[in-house]
Symmetry: C2
Subunit: 510 residues, 2 copies
Amino acid sequence: MQNISLAPDGTKYPLPTDAEAIEERKILKSITEEQRKKGRKIVAVQGLGFVGCVMATVVADAVDEKGEPIYYVHGHQRPSPRSFWKIPVINNGIPPVSSSDEEVPEIFHRCVVEKQNFRATWEDYVYELVDVVVVDIQLDATKPAFGEAEKGFCDLYAFRGGIRTLGQHIKPDCLILVETTVPPGTCEKVVKPIIEEEFTKRGIDITKTPPLIAHSYERVMPGAKYVASIRDFWRVFSGVNQKSRDLCREFLSNVLNVKKYPLTELDHTNASELSKVMENSYRATNIALTLEWARFAEQIGVDLYKVREAIRKREGTHDNLLRPSLGVGGYCLTKDPVLANWAMNALFGLEGTLDMAIRSVNINDTMPLHTIEIIKQVIENLKETQVTVLGVSYLENLGDTRHSPSKTLVEFLRKEFALVKVHDPYVEVWPEIDETVVLHDLGESLSGAQVVVFAVGHDEYRKLKPEDVVAMTGGKPLIVDCSNFLSDSIIAQYRKLGCEVRGVGKGHIK
Amino acid sequence: MQNISLAPDGTKYPLPTDAEAIEERKILKSITEEQRKKGRKIVAVQGLGFVGCVMATVVADAVDEKGEPIYYVHGHQRPSPRSFWKIPVINNGIPPVSSSDEEVPEIFHRCVVEKQNFRATWEDYVYELVDVVVVDIQLDATKPAFGEAEKGFCDLYAFRGGIRTLGQHIKPDCLILVETTVPPGTCEKVVKPIIEEEFTKRGIDITKTPPLIAHSYERVMPGAKYVASIRDFWRVFSGVNQKSRDLCREFLSNVLNVKKYPLTELDHTNASELSKVMENSYRATNIALTLEWARFAEQIGVDLYKVREAIRKREGTHDNLLRPSLGVGGYCLTKDPVLANWAMNALFGLEGTLDMAIRSVNINDTMPLHTIEIIKQVIENLKETQVTVLGVSYLENLGDTRHSPSKTLVEFLRKEFALVKVHDPYVEVWPEIDETVVLHDLGESLSGAQVVVFAVGHDEYRKLKPEDVVAMTGGKPLIVDCSNFLSDSIIAQYRKLGCEVRGVGKGHIK
């Protein structure tokens, strides 16, 4: 077992020893007592991932009418080689995530260094000390076969383990607030029984003090408003009983900007859990619908993006219409319909499937193959064809490669023996794909390219001048625009330079 | 052949004779000359249906800076027994459609009686006199099998006949503005060749004066803002060539409220035709998605309407989310995806289908069967069960029964030998279904009912008191709420009265 945790900056942190754990428990106890004296409530955030670490700062940053912090926050992260480094990094006041949002380093510095009411730890003992645990354990769906999301499932092993830890440590009146996106039914059918079992083992009478479990899902949007997307945005919540709902409402009202974004309370955790996965399924379906229209538009000389703008004028009824693209990436739209579909049978024992939602995931997961079809309309045999893919993250101007559709594109191009180079200014390493160097030099990336795929709309790519791109390739490459990144005039310039231009959803009257 | 046209009010109008036609042509000629002297342009509206008759008044109502009418409008309607009556009715200043919009009778009176710049005729000769023809011929999709929209097609016979009539009569520089929702490709592949053929027959050199054909679809919403939905709303347009686009822009700018709702110009009629059917396909898909979630919600005790409201807080990204219901009716969402799918193959010779759009139509068309499932969860055998359906129109507070989902509900209830009574305060006759009397007396409708289906959200139904409904049935009927028409407290009252209550998308925690 590796006993080192390697931070992204190369620093190596040794995993903590038993002696350090004893010391840490003393520190936790003393900090907590000190903070309680100041009248603060104590919160733990379980899991310092993408959501948890920022949520922890938002909780720590909350103040009362006098401007005094309401909570002291213990961030908890398991001491694994993959993640332990986050703890010393955070405790230096540095965010463990990189972001284009300037508020991220500010809020970490403010809470850790200035206010000193946020600190990270690996010790489970911390849960004995707190009034609220916010659960931000990551939970993914497993899709065992490409394009067959109906076979997808949710492995709750680690999540259940995390919940059991809570049951073994928390005070009976501690609120467990699940923020993780979970399969509907999870609070009632997974969390509650585990906590009840552990409470009972500990001699706690669950008929007198039933576990307090609430659910309120985040709607975090990575990017320039990362922190605000947690704090200043609409929230939905519920709880397994009235007291849970009341405590949850009180906590969220203290922490979030509920004046501008009033909370929505639902009757039951089943409802709030369903709400999250349904809203992302709605989005996924919305995108999936665009592919068939993109194909149609391409063939009849219609620019579907202009049609989309025409339709979206109808605000409130038609302006959610999304655009066709290379495909769908990220952590939500790719998995949430699967969580819901799996829960239907696995947690509720119901028959049937969420057919449109699952079908949409399949359409979206296989969408990058359409870009390959477009390339093959011009270059039938891709063997030894040099293809440069510009952009491997799943979102514009971000370095997040989770479930990026560029991965599918690259893999299937290689299946046809194309020679693929990839470029992304924001991505250092691409952990999801083997043996692929992400280049940062455009000249090197484009040199020799017979096909240039504009896969992601990073600003850097939108600004590229056609004559420069063509010069860097040293030929007359086929230009493929995956989501309307190139304007009509840019396309005209490429054509003037002798390049063929194609695009997803971009038909052109000849 | 019947030579009488029967108006809805019972008045019989004899169809016009040849002698009357000669006289009519003289009238048309003299009116037109007189109006030209006033500096007005002359417009014909072809087809005085739901859209055409009101569009004609909107055109007639348009004024220049001095407040003078810009156009004289000839409304044209074929002298069929089914529709001829509209002509004398309109020429008396009376709208041939009933509407809750007060502006409808006003605008008809203003244009026909006061301004005297709108008159209806049946004579094709009128097309020789005009500068613009607005085509509002009705065009439907035929779906030969229930739940198999993929087999649907569009019978263009009457539409082509109408266009041919224009080609035989119009001046070469007359603008043909197609407002009918048509399969994409229709202007280019159907209208243009017919006009070119007829022009050529008439000795017009189409290389010098190519036909002027534009497309701009309406987004009419029947109801309280019927006129405004034509005049004060976003419009998309295009034309088959530059001159058509220019003339169309000028015409629409004169007629519509383009200051508040600027026009959207697209590159080609293919694009504007696609835009219309895509926007309705988007809507249809959006509704279809709700069914599987409604089923899920019902089974896990979740009220999907509350979830929907929670999701719709996210304005601009999630607020288009529609609600589950009995099903989808009306003239647009039920046919437009079929027009598009058919056009793909029939007009463009392309392979493939618009799979999600067509699937959505099928889900929506068969959606009323889910309400029957809900009933059968309580009453397994429907034979001889008395079911009262409240509402047979396809929209709230309207009497329009076109493609109403209540029809499917009634037919499939009868298939199971249920005894069905139907009630609707707005519907006099229900032409789409055989041997069904639409009752207007609630007592008569509800008497003996073992099941009461709230199918449509007419205000009258929303106001009903549970004790009155129960009393009128004389029993303890099963109450079925098809789209959240009953509040939680109303439902509680029904339950207190001993009724079971079920609803589409309405799970209730027991």
